[in-house]
Amino acid sequence: MFSISVNEKGIIILTGRLDASQVDRAREVFSGLDASAVVDFQSLDYISSAGLGVLLATQQRLKKGGKALKLVHMNRMVRDVFKIARFDLIFEIE
């Protein structure tokens, strides 16, 4: 299961497994984003290239307006995926 929500502080919370069959739900939220935002990965167990594609497209769109996503609280495996994809050079990861 995958879920995406925005808390009262505007932080985007990802939960569960973001795979190719769930990516449209993530795209719905990220495509409506027009300001810098923090994305909390603490409860995200799994991500594949489908999820990375949504994040890449969002970051590219936001950067054109001088804004960006900041990604926080990744688990070790998810962080490894970001490094292999060289997304650690594209996103601020904390």
């Binding site: 497994r17 190719a20 290239s49 594609g53 590219q60």
Partner: protein, 135 residues
């Protein structure tokens, strides 16, 4: 050895992951190996769904452990071979604004796996993934 047939459909992914989870549980795979197999199989399965040239609607998955090595095979009937090991490499040397996600999944899978082979025999296409387990 475990083997199961899946419809060539993105909606089969849940069943694919269930199959891999059962295999991981039976073989007591560690979390890292399990993640790598999930990711690699997802990337190649979705590739087959997107670009499938197969003549039937089935994709077979087979998983086996031999000592410290796990092998997972994706198999389909197709008249057109497509060697995923020769797929276009992700371009990392382009400016950020021009980066595209194409090829990224196969790149990540290759980096995390210990082996990736492709063979095509008598109309059957086989992608074989291997992962050595940490001791």
């Amino acid at each position: 050895m475990m083997r199961q047939q899946f419809d060539r459909d993105i909606r089969s992914l849940d069943a694919v992951f269930s199959f891999l989870r059962r295999f991981a549980d039976e073989e007591r795979l560690d979390a890292r190996a399990s993640y790598v197999l999930d990711l690699a199989v997802e990337e190649f399965f979705t590739n087959i769904v997107k670009y499938g040239r197969g003549t039937s609607n089935e994709v077979f998955l087979e998983a086996v452990r031999s000592g410290g090595t796990v092998t997972v095979r994706l198999e389909e009937q197709t008249p057109v071979p497509f060697d995923v090991t020769r797929a276009t490499q992700t371009q990392f040397d382009v400016p950020f604004a021009e980066r595209k996600p194409g090829g990224l999944g196969i790149h990540i899978a290759r980096e995390m796996l210990d082996g990736l082979t492709y063979d095509y025999v008598d109309g059957t296409s086989r992608i074989t993934l291997t992962k050595h387990l940490e001791t």
